[in-house]
């Protein structure tokens, strides 16, 4: 069964360092997303991406964050200068249709900022 894959599964970084989280969405999906979950809290939406541009972003997704689809398969989330409060599980998701389609999540990338 097709699945969303994410790398790395766990990354530890120093505050102020740049981090890139990678995702390979399901191959025929057109809509891509990043969500995050701070330990013990709800899963929160960060950003949606369609047709090679951001279609929506939350207030969390400030100038320190960026997304890119550098080729036909990868979808990346970059955090330019990590802060302690960026420590969280980051989930990539994709779906075939926007708005009403089923959303498929990857297994997550756990980011720890020291």
């Amino acid at each position: 069964e097709p699945e969303v894959t994410q790398t790395p599964s766990h990354q530890v970084t120093q505050m102020g360092q740049e981090v890139i989280l990678r995702c390979v969405p399901i191959s025929n999906h057109l809509y891509f997303y990043w969500y995050r979950q701070i330990l013990g809290q709800k899963v929160e939406f960060l950003v949606s991406f369609y047709n090679n541009e951001i279609s929506e972003k939350s207030e969390i997704f400030d100038d320190q964050f960026s997304v890119e689809r550098p080729d036909g398969s990868n979808f990346t989330l970059k955090i330019r200068s990590t802060k302690l409060e960026d420590s969280a599980m980051y989930f990539c998701a994709s779906r075939l249709k926007g708005y009403t389609g089923e959303l498929f999540f990857g297994e997550g990338s756990r980011l720890t900022v020291l």
Binding site: F45, E56, F91, T100, E102, L103, F104, G108
Partner: protein, 110 residues
């Protein structure tokens, strides 16, 4: 935006017991999903169920969109069912994002 309330927040069961988890929405939804977050933090899709009833093994889900709630049934629970169960639905106003509830933490004891 839409509010998603889940109950109960915590649930402890003995292996073999049945349970019902509830998800209430503040507005009507046309896209509702249930997820299981295992102890390693991975989010597993359980059901995509905008309306009606679906079953998958020991799990089933029912959504009554007009009444703005969904139920997740777990029968003959096993220790591997432990984890947090989330429901999520779309916010309103043409947004694509899913809004998650706070989850129900299920512990199944042997």
């Amino acid at each position: 935006g839409i509010q998603v309330e889940q109950s109960p927040p915590d649930l402890i069961l003995q292996e073999g017991a049945n349970s019902t988890l509830r998800c209430n929405f503040s507005d009507s939804v046309n896209n509702l999903q249930w997820f299981h977050q295992n102890p390693w933090g991975q989010l597993i899709n359980l059901f995509y169920i905008p309306s009606g009833t679906k079953q998958n093994g020991r799990l089933s889900a029912t959504t009554v969109a007009t009444e703005r709630y969904s139920l997740l049934y777990i029968s003959s629970s096993q220790t591997t069912d432990s984890g947090v169960y989330f429901c999520a639905g779309p916010t309103q106003g043409g947004s694509e994002k899913l809004v998650f509830g706070k989850g129900t933490k299920l512990t199944v004891n042997p």
